[in-house]
Symmetry: D4
Amino acid sequence: MQEILSAVRRGVLTEAEAETRIMAILYERGEDFLLDLHREKRIGFPEVVYAAGKSVPQVLAIAAAILEEKGAVFVSGLDDERESALRGRFPDRILRQAGRVLVIRADAAAPAPLGTVGLVTAGTSDIPYARECGLILSELGAEVVEAFDAGAAGMHRPELGLRTVRNADVLIVFAGMEGVLPPLIASLTPQPVIAVPTPIGYGHGGLGEGALCTMLQTCVPGVLVVNIGNAVGAAAGAVRILKAIRKGGGE
Amino acid sequence: MQEILSAVRRGVLTEAEAETRIMAILYERGEDFLLDLHREKRIGFPEVVYAAGKSVPQVLAIAAAILEEKGAVFVSGLDDERESALRGRFPDRILRQAGRVLVIRADAAAPAPLGTVGLVTAGTSDIPYARECGLILSELGAEVVEAFDAGAAGMHRPELGLRTVRNADVLIVFAGMEGVLPPLIASLTPQPVIAVPTPIGYGHGGLGEGALCTMLQTCVPGVLVVNIGNAVGAAAGAVRILKAIRKGGGE
Amino acid sequence: MQEILSAVRRGVLTEAEAETRIMAILYERGEDFLLDLHREKRIGFPEVVYAAGKSVPQVLAIAAAILEEKGAVFVSGLDDERESALRGRFPDRILRQAGRVLVIRADAAAPAPLGTVGLVTAGTSDIPYARECGLILSELGAEVVEAFDAGAAGMHRPELGLRTVRNADVLIVFAGMEGVLPPLIASLTPQPVIAVPTPIGYGHGGLGEGALCTMLQTCVPGVLVVNIGNAVGAAAGAVRILKAIRKGGGE
Amino acid sequence: MQEILSAVRRGVLTEAEAETRIMAILYERGEDFLLDLHREKRIGFPEVVYAAGKSVPQVLAIAAAILEEKGAVFVSGLDDERESALRGRFPDRILRQAGRVLVIRADAAAPAPLGTVGLVTAGTSDIPYARECGLILSELGAEVVEAFDAGAAGMHRPELGLRTVRNADVLIVFAGMEGVLPPLIASLTPQPVIAVPTPIGYGHGGLGEGALCTMLQTCVPGVLVVNIGNAVGAAAGAVRILKAIRKGGGE
Amino acid sequence: MQEILSAVRRGVLTEAEAETRIMAILYERGEDFLLDLHREKRIGFPEVVYAAGKSVPQVLAIAAAILEEKGAVFVSGLDDERESALRGRFPDRILRQAGRVLVIRADAAAPAPLGTVGLVTAGTSDIPYARECGLILSELGAEVVEAFDAGAAGMHRPELGLRTVRNADVLIVFAGMEGVLPPLIASLTPQPVIAVPTPIGYGHGGLGEGALCTMLQTCVPGVLVVNIGNAVGAAAGAVRILKAIRKGGGE
Amino acid sequence: MQEILSAVRRGVLTEAEAETRIMAILYERGEDFLLDLHREKRIGFPEVVYAAGKSVPQVLAIAAAILEEKGAVFVSGLDDERESALRGRFPDRILRQAGRVLVIRADAAAPAPLGTVGLVTAGTSDIPYARECGLILSELGAEVVEAFDAGAAGMHRPELGLRTVRNADVLIVFAGMEGVLPPLIASLTPQPVIAVPTPIGYGHGGLGEGALCTMLQTCVPGVLVVNIGNAVGAAAGAVRILKAIRKGGGE
Amino acid sequence: MQEILSAVRRGVLTEAEAETRIMAILYERGEDFLLDLHREKRIGFPEVVYAAGKSVPQVLAIAAAILEEKGAVFVSGLDDERESALRGRFPDRILRQAGRVLVIRADAAAPAPLGTVGLVTAGTSDIPYARECGLILSELGAEVVEAFDAGAAGMHRPELGLRTVRNADVLIVFAGMEGVLPPLIASLTPQPVIAVPTPIGYGHGGLGEGALCTMLQTCVPGVLVVNIGNAVGAAAGAVRILKAIRKGGGE
Amino acid sequence: MQEILSAVRRGVLTEAEAETRIMAILYERGEDFLLDLHREKRIGFPEVVYAAGKSVPQVLAIAAAILEEKGAVFVSGLDDERESALRGRFPDRILRQAGRVLVIRADAAAPAPLGTVGLVTAGTSDIPYARECGLILSELGAEVVEAFDAGAAGMHRPELGLRTVRNADVLIVFAGMEGVLPPLIASLTPQPVIAVPTPIGYGHGGLGEGALCTMLQTCVPGVLVVNIGNAVGAAAGAVRILKAIRKGGGE
């Protein structure tokens, strides 16, 4: 735009011509306004490629493009076929995996420290979801503290878990079946609690619908919920809170 | 039948005629076989008239007939109009009421003692359902111990309630919203636990559907569930267990 | 316990007797462990009395007891009858109301400043829910910035709203119908975003179910959701985050 | 009928006989009235054979019959087995495929130009549905302009897409997950917008139910919806509109 | 902007200052970009105020503001109270009403002719929805042709209706219960068909859910659907098509 | 048509003109083909006006028109207001009412005898639905035999009912709650059994959805089901069967 | 019993002893009363073994036992494995198969003629369900007339089908998708119509739920419905009606 | 604690120091309070490892740990892969299996007798669920009496089953499809009845949802329900009741 204005000043460009050109830029910017190109910067969370429903060539192409542009790519919803394809396509990159999430980097990450997130699971079956979440968080600079259950059926041991994650800035709690752990944790702690229903369960209210219900219906105040199995969304919610903490209050 | 057989013996009736007559009786008995006439005796729980959906005259007529025949009638699902009508119709009988249940008796009841039932509620809004249940139980001879919450929102105080009902033979636990109290209680006690979802709640999973989900999905073993708001069914289930206790094991 | 130990020291109490007595206390404390008595302090959010489903006398009694003990009581889910009863019962207290929420205080509140929350609504019908949320937040010390829509049907003007709430620490976004505003806001800002579906809408997906779906399904990362119409829960979630911000990171 | 009337005129046939015969024809015509034989002509859209749920021999037989009669056959809902069978059966015909749709022609199509349809997708996973739609449209003479997303997660870039399809007569917008792109597009353009929810998504509101909800609930006026994944129906709806445009207004 | 550029030319403004000022305008325009201020012009359909869920003062204020600015206001979702308030507030304006929709104008409307829409109803109970739709359409310049059923239960008489609306540019078909009329009409005509399920019906699939199902599931190609009872959305969809017809094809 | 043919014969009309005229009639007849004018005759069941959702004037107008044309009108889905209006409008006609159904006749009906239908109800609350059904059946000439329960809660007494209706040609069985009576009856009898779920019940599966489920899922072969509360449809189904019986087999 | 009575007559048995013995028999008969042993005779329809969910050995054992006892066995819900096992087990019996139903007989069946059933399908995918139904019916003596669609998409040709099945005593109509054919047929014929929704369809209302909705909601009177895909139940319902026709009215 | 108290007595520890140490223990005990370590003892039912959703190594590790600690481990929800892995891992232990449940013991169990449970199934397909339940019960000392149906379709023979299980202390009744057997049994017996819906069924209300509905909606009083297919929960509920019986009433 400086060039246009300079041309106006030099008399090389009439005002009408200048306005037309500026409007063209203006329009482009308006156009860009909703574009995702700068979204990562704007919302502070990288694009995560959801591999499910995309063909293998699509996944490879998208991953390569983002890796090229940003030096790292996050892929979720992987199955064995797409994972093998990605591993075969990027044999010499740094790959980290958890659950169905894969992170591919050109160089070792050295993200600025972001704060601490406590991950708590109600049962063994919830652990893969928590690990996906933890991988994304640690890649982005968060310290991850885990309180993973190992084999207990029935009502949960929130206190034991709570002590482990006592100093975390944010808690993310995963539960399937009746989904009662997140409200239980939230009733014992003042921290922000993000609840992730997992698709564990059977019969009426199975596939996580019962857990989702509990988390939405709970009378413990302040439980914040994401969709069933949405470990990525929980990580993103936690990152937003961690960044708000680092930024400090609005003073 | 003695008459028929006697007639056979006396030769007044041929064997063929006798068989025909006996078959007629036989048929009648077979007919009666599924009749409700003796159901109360058979299953050990009185018929409870469900007033909702019945007209006022129907409710009055049915109540009068049962009161006449059995000396007592239990009516549930009452609204103000039907309650007033019953009270007006039986002014000199003994009436006890709780929630939407009314018991009308010709004489003061002196039921045989049946054992103790502990009633626990998660919130103030659950109390009317518990009271309905308690009225029916006490009318049938059970001692009722109450651990009713009074005003606490949020996660529940199961231990306080548990101590009160520690010596009950059976526990009935009422909860709406996310319905987590019954599994919590059941995880802390070896007693039989009957869970009653109440139609309390809002939004997704409201009207008790979320509570029902939790109670069915729970991984605490041995929670037995009745339909949303079914205080009568919970009382009946408890009576069955109390009678089994009184009868003792199958030795 | 000092008394018991002192008695041990003085030889007045045997060690066995002392242990028994301490165990009794221990048990009591274990008992208290899950009690709500200290929950407000523990989780940093006051008990909010949910009036719906409670009788008028129950609401009055609970409100009086809490007001007596804590100097303030928050009541939600009010209808006209319960509101009038409360206003009649506490004529000389300080009352503030918004939507179906009423706050009653013995003295003017002077809460410590807690940070800033931006409230954004998609439509005029969402405003009462936002006001409930704002009343609770301001009573607890949060500064509330409002970007309330006024009469626009159709797609929303997120940018205009965003500028108003740009400096808020946390955003709470209310929307019924197709519920698209929270993800739209979240795609344009790095702040924590709490999404509140409101029970606005009709036909398939009405009563807020469609809005809830959108908020759970959105591919914008980091949208945290509460149940339909749960303005209190959204406020509580925001308070948890504000407190985490004030406490600072885990350094 | 001319013959009958001629016979009447010639006196060969009585009026009564003639009426009987004409009534028989009449009945036949009434019979035909709802027949599909002329439906393609009547509604201006070819029969599309839905292969799912039909056996391989059925699909082959139906395709052969239609191909024979009309020179072209459209088959949707194909799986690999049925596609291979069709390709094996018609090795020397002109075949075009997209997604699960296959078009088989005896001769190269030269349909009359029908106007322009803009196809917009929200995510990479929606592209196969858009391609099915585009294949059918182009086979029928429509020019297809594509604005296919390529790898963006999160909120969409409607403006970029809109510019591409700005001159299309009708827009068809495909979206899964929260399904917000069609209303967003519709809020920025005056053109007819057909919204196609795709069965992309997970957890609560997955399989396209959440997207369908959004498209039905949206407050952007004039979004017209077809069932989840119904690319054929969207194409047919667009063809109806294109034909209405070509026919011009009712002047 | 001409002023700024002129100032640049005159040397009154430096290029840097000019860019800052232009960016401010730019930002404003970007801001406006999604604003509803020009939406009516952009999408060619007026804002319709949805009165349900808004308070009476809100409805009056919004209506007055729009009436002031645009000379006309459309209000939908009215109940008696809100309708009376509007009638009382604007006694000397031109008011037209149908179903729950009210149009208030400062002056008699003389909209440019827009084409013809055929409205077909399956049953008498659907007529109010059709009338709402027709009022909006006629206010915007469309000619409305009605084929309203009057009292027929059971399967419908599509042919009779079709003849009446034969020359319409677009058909809008309303049906509750099993909702079969729109596909039936669409199988007999090449015109664009918009299907409106109405909230008529009972038991399983009642409240219009069964009709919605039928309209989405139908195998008649090209039926375009709006939400249950969404007469306004159907009108808006029709206006989009009518405008596309008037504009003609993309030649 | 005789006139046209006669004109042809007389040479007054050319064959071409005649064909045009006959085609016009033909078209009209085709038109009529789906009309309801003769539907009553075609399907053997009168049109029943569904009053719910129709305005009072509409109900009166439709009833008057049908009464005028056919001498009798059946109205269902009545509320008090519409019933009073009808009674006030036709004070001197013969009116019979049951549940929400009203039959109005100009003259006393003397329908041809049609056979016998047995009506069985599971509970007192189902009786109004059975009476609606019985009224319609008796108006059409069927003899109605009733086996109405009177006050029994719990499992039903099918045998007692069965004996009463043993000689009926068709059985219609009404049940709400868990809806088990129709399959129970059907397991004990060879007769056609039509099952009517009634909207009786509460909590999960309430409003008749549970009863509908049972009736559709039952493993007793041959239970035929209508929608919840659809007493009219059950009567119509029975009439079809009765007519098939009277017509006899296809020999 | 003759023996007992004879013993009474001979004085060998006292009346009391006789009564005890007769009561024992009585009890046994009461026991048998609900037994399935005579159910086939009682309800006039053979037991059909539902193979799905049973192990291969269970299916073989049950089939062998019934075949032994009754000379024929009907098996439904077969998959390839169970079908092969049955064919391998009974190589020299008479086997007839259709869809997932297999009938095995010791001897050629010569059932008494039962009347005629017309089977109508809406689409090619419905044919297997109709064939299952037809096999059972023909095995039981019914003549089966088929009007099977062959490849038509879209609205159906009921008239053509109707003529074929015009003289059938009962019609069974199969439809998936929007399920409109059964009400359409029922609106054109006075015969009993049994509607079978088939699990054909996709997206919202798929798997036959939309078709079920339509059949339950239809305003065409007298459509009788069975569960989705329940061809066996439809056959059983038809057999009940055919037997009622053969038995004639209750004169 | 004795050591601490002893140190206090000896003057080695001040009272303040002692309190601090005791509080630490206190805290630990509070911590343990909700732990599962003693849950088996507390609720009288062993932890059952739910294998579904756990990886093979997880299942092996958990099973080994519990087997080590308690001498026996119960695993449910097994598939072939996990079962083989467990059998391979514990080749020399005592293994008993039923359905998808496996019990592994170090030594032969000799549990104290617990009473008798009657297991009743409605159909052959329900037997695996009953066997799972029976295995757990017999491992815990209960005597199991079975009344398993063998091949009867249609309405059930409750009386025959009832006689077999007449002397059981508790009945557990399994049923899929329309799920009517549990209420039928409960209407004929005074014993506690636990109802287990099984995931048998098809179409509307399939996968056990219809059976669950029936069991929750039934008007037979006292039917206690667990989730669909939850044989473990039913066993646990029965064990609670058996223990209450052995303990006797609260006298």
